[in-house]
Symmetry: C2
Subunit: 131 residues, 2 copies
């Protein structure tokens, strides 16, 4: 979150779909890393920010019928600029989006990933409960 | 939907996660089937209902970075009993859930699949717009 109402999305080329997909910063944990350490590293690599406030709010599965893959959803707030070199082939374009307007976001043809969409709605619920 | 406020979920054993997962009726399209035909067939196989009113409300991707898999989200209303034999190894347990209470649902440890959760929130938005 760049402020209490605005999320950061990134445009990343989706090889599987042959278009740029708008979604959340994400990546794989490295050996020995905690979930929060991995989340902050990915933030620094993909958008050039660290976060003073990181909290894991849920974990999602991908295709539980046949895959063991689990995605941890981390809410990052109180950002500060810090860039790390990552493995992205090109710099990612950042897009700011109001969390209140997920309805328009999910109608875009370039925002289709189930995990990202689920994470955004769950985060919105989480923040409403927090208030 | 069994009525305007209540969704049907199924409990299905998730081999990838070694537990029963609560999610939406789902399956693969067969050759020559339209999205709506496939959706209704899966409903008949998994919960023993057809639907007079079927509409595709969105399509979701699974892992667009490396997979081409697309999931069509179909809203089924005006259900009627009709059972088809499917390929499920055992009968699926049905659970009725109020669409207004997705917040509790996603906090359950057995409801983790990104696509199902995204589909439910998008459907809730869709129905709110429809009113």
């Amino acid at each position: 979150m760049v402020d209490e109402e605005t999320i950061v999305l990134v445009k990343e080329y989706a090889v599987g779909l042959h278009h740029y997909e708008l979604g959340l910063v994400k990546g794989r944990l490295e050996a020995g890393e905690t979930v929060l350490e991995g989340a902050e590293r990915e933030l620094k690599e993909e958008i050039g920010f660290g976060a003073h406030d990181l909290v894991e709010i849920t974990a999602l599965s991908l295709a539980p019928g046949y895959m063991t893959h689990v995605t941890h959803v981390v809410l990052a707030r109180d950002l500060y600029p810090e860039k790390l070199e990552g493995d992205e082939p090109e710099a990612l374009e950042m897009v700011h989006w109001p969390l209140a307007d997920l309805h328009s976001l999910v109608q875009r043809p370039d925002c289709t990933e189930g995990r990202s969409i689920a994470a955004l709605y769950i985060t919105r619920d989480y923040l409403q409960q927090e208030q």
